[in-house]
Symmetry: C2
Subunit: 209 residues, 2 copies
């Protein structure tokens, strides 16, 4: 069985990537969603190993020390990180893993796992990004402005991603992300066994043998 692909998906807050990811996983249950470890307390209805791997601060720092996390970051007083072991096991079982993560984390993943596939989801325009953030109706103008300001800083990261997908129509975007991950399996760099096997097998037909 061939190894799965780790697809790291990022985008500006408000790009709609949460909705894209949800639809992708519903339509293609073969994908495994990477589960983060965190030191924050479980909320009502959250289960260990489903929403998060819940850890104590000591446990989390032990994961850091033993290089058991592909990446981690601290927000406010809590740690969040991606356990390497879970991702590795899924990939070895031939499952493609989706890791939805912000951009600095994505850069760390690419550094540690160069075969990771980086996909950036962007709204069609900055005006549309603003419209979507305002349209949610759940955030204050202050929060919206701070998200747009952050997006303007984050845009530079787009150049580090392997693929840029414009999220115009949801269904198209989901299909495109799926096709990108599946097409990537056929890239020559990911097919060394196919090539080696074919070269080896064809030797029997060489002239003069």
């Amino acid at each position: 069985m061939s190894r799965g692909i780790l697809a790291v998906v990022s985008g500006f807050s408000g790009a709609g990537k949460g909705t894209v990811m949800k639809a992708l996983l519903e339509q293609h249950p073969g994908y495994a969603l990477s589960i983060s470890a965190t030191t924050r307390k479980p909320r009502e209805g959250e289960a260990d190993g489903r929403e998060y791997f819940f850890k104590t601060r000591e446990e989390f720092e032990e994961l850091i020390r033993t290089d058991a996390l592909i990446e981690y970051a601290q927000y406010v007083e809590n740690y969040y990180g991606t356990p390497r072991d879970y991702v590795e096991r899924q990939l070895e079982n031939g499952r493609d893993v989706i890791l939805e993560i912000e951009m600095q984390g994505a850069m760390k993943v690419k550094e540690k796992l160069p075969s990771a596939l980086l996909v950036f989801i962007t709204p069609p325009s900055a005006a549309e990004l603003k419209r979507r953030l305002v349209g949610r109706g759940t955030e204050s103008i202050h929060v919206i402005e701070s998200r747009l300001s952050r997006a303007s800083e984050e845009a530079v990261y787009m150049e580090q991603y392997d693929y840029i997908v414009v999220n115009d129509r949801l269904e198209d975007c989901v299909q495109t992300v799926h096709n990108i991950i599946q097409s990537e399996k056929h890239r020559r760099e990911r097919s060394p066994e196919v090539i080696a096997q074919m070269k080896q097998d064809l030797k029997q037909f060489q002239k003069g043998e």
Copy 2:
């Protein structure tokens, strides 16, 4: 309108790429098939500008001299080549162009047009390649052996292609080639305008402005 992609498709003789190309173009009429120029005489039913651009030897050598061919080769006493002008016009009109060509020609195309996408179609195994060649029932054992011997020499070229597609089931192979070409449009290297536009547009939201 964004520029089309030039997809160069090659494979061992007997890999079934002719059948794959035919099905691909039937199912997706948006693709333009590159038309070769040749000095060989038109056969009954062949039309200039449809099967080939038919040229005199003098005309063809003028195309060579003026660098009007992306690649060319001589077989027996005739020239065959890919006119640059036709391909360029299709790409500029936003159409993706399929160029089915043998491997040395494909290498020349990649050299002249580095943005060309190289797709290699291979049967699942050498044994299957032999089965398909024998199964045609149209070729002598001598011809089959010479094709297999050629395939064993050609296998080294697989490493120069961007994508390797195993042609196991025809329908899967056609869909995969189509998805690869369409996914490739979203590669970051092919999306500089999307990134530049987004960075530019987001500047208005920078803090302190």
